[in-house]
């Protein structure tokens, strides 16, 4: 494991525990503050931005596979089903495209 891997694991571990600790110490105060909506909105916005960043500049078939994955996610709300069918759709479209 490289130095980068170690730093990532340690930084993420410290950040994850710190967030939980903030919840323990000051969670009630934060939730009743006027900025509480940031906690609700930021995770979804980051995930949507991640989806957009992974699709931007990709060929049409990747967008079609993403649409298939989105349909599965909407219908099932199941992570594994979405991943499996999404990857199958992507592989199938890539195979069909040549």
């Amino acid at each position: 494991m490289s130095g980068g891997h170690w730093i990532l694991v340690l930084t993420l571990a410290v950040a994850a525990f710190s967030i939980r600790l903030i919840g323990l110490v000051a969670g009630d105060r934060i939730r009743s503050s006027r900025h509480a909506w940031l906690l609700d909105d930021l995770p979804g916005l980051i995930v949507v931005s991640l989806v957009a960043a992974s699709l931007a500049g990709q060929p049409f078939q990747t967008w079609v596979a993403a649409a298939v994955a989105l349909a599965v996610a909407v219908l099932t709300n199941h992570v594994i089903a979405t991943m499996c069918i999404g990857v199958l759709a992507y592989a199938g479209l890539a195979w069909a495209g040549g």
Partner: protein, 226 residues
């Protein structure tokens, strides 16, 4: 404690599948199996881990990957805050253990059981949490061991599994029409920034920031219209 440990088993089985898939992906982008196990035991946050690993394997630096992963964990401020009554009376050491092993599944199960049976409390949360973190660590490690001996699956579209996982996460975070416009703005801004040739890590930050501005506007406009 035993009651919580038994009650969480069906949810743990589902998490094991997800954990195995995450471990496989992490190994394919260069994480050793023991590094995946260490991350799972010390971070214990599935969506954060998958985002951080994907960002780390791409163009993002370590800090960017860690921040993107950590930002997904912000919901735990509210989750842990909701446990204040359950954790009251525990020693500091027990509280610190309890908050580390609290995940979405055992928190939701504990709250649901407590709503039906008020004497369900910290021991149920800790029992179910110990099973969850154990299953998560073992399943992700097992996935990484298998992923390390498999050939490069990128050509079969395994890289798209990250995108599909993000789409599934977005579905789970969908809170109705109130988030539609901010999400569209975030999506559009991110695609635009990537199309301009800027690094994807910056595009994600710009996209999320634009989404927050849109969200703020929606709240203000909504309040004004009400």
């Amino acid at each position: 404690m035993k009651q919580g440990a038994i009650a969480i088993v069906p949810l743990a089985a589902g998490a094991a599948l997800y954990g195995f898939a995450f471990g496989l992906l992490a190994a394919q982008v260069g994480f050793p199996w023991w590094g995946v196990g260490l991350m799972s035991a010390s971070v214990h946050a599935g969506s954060s881990q998958i985002v951080a690993v994907e960002q780390f394997s791409g163009a993002s630096g370590v800090l960017g990957a860690a921040l993107a992963g950590a930002a997904l964990n912000l919901r735990y401020v509210g989750i842990i805050a909701s446990l204040s009554e359950i954790l009251a009376g525990l020693s500091l050491r027990a509280k610190l253990l309890a908050i580390h092993i609290t995940g979405d599944e055992n928190w939701a199960l504990t709250m649901a059981e407590r709503a039906r049976t008020p004497n369900v409390g910290a021991s149920f949360l800790i029992g179910s949490g110990v099973v969850m973190i154990g299953v998560w660590t073992i399943s992700t490690t097992a996935g990484a061991i298998v992923g390390a001996v498999l050939p490069d699956l990128e050509k079969f579209g395994l890289g798209f599994a990250f995108t599909a996982a993000f789409i599934a996460m977005a579905r789970g975070l969908w809170r109705g029409r109130v988030v539609a416009l901010p999400w569209l703005v975030a999506f559009g801004a991110t695609v635009t920034v990537v199309s301009l040739g800027l690094p994807r890590a910056y595009a994600i930050v710009v996209g999320a920031a634009c989404g927050l501005i849109a969200s703020c506007a929606v709240r203000r406009f909504g309040r004004g219209a009400a």
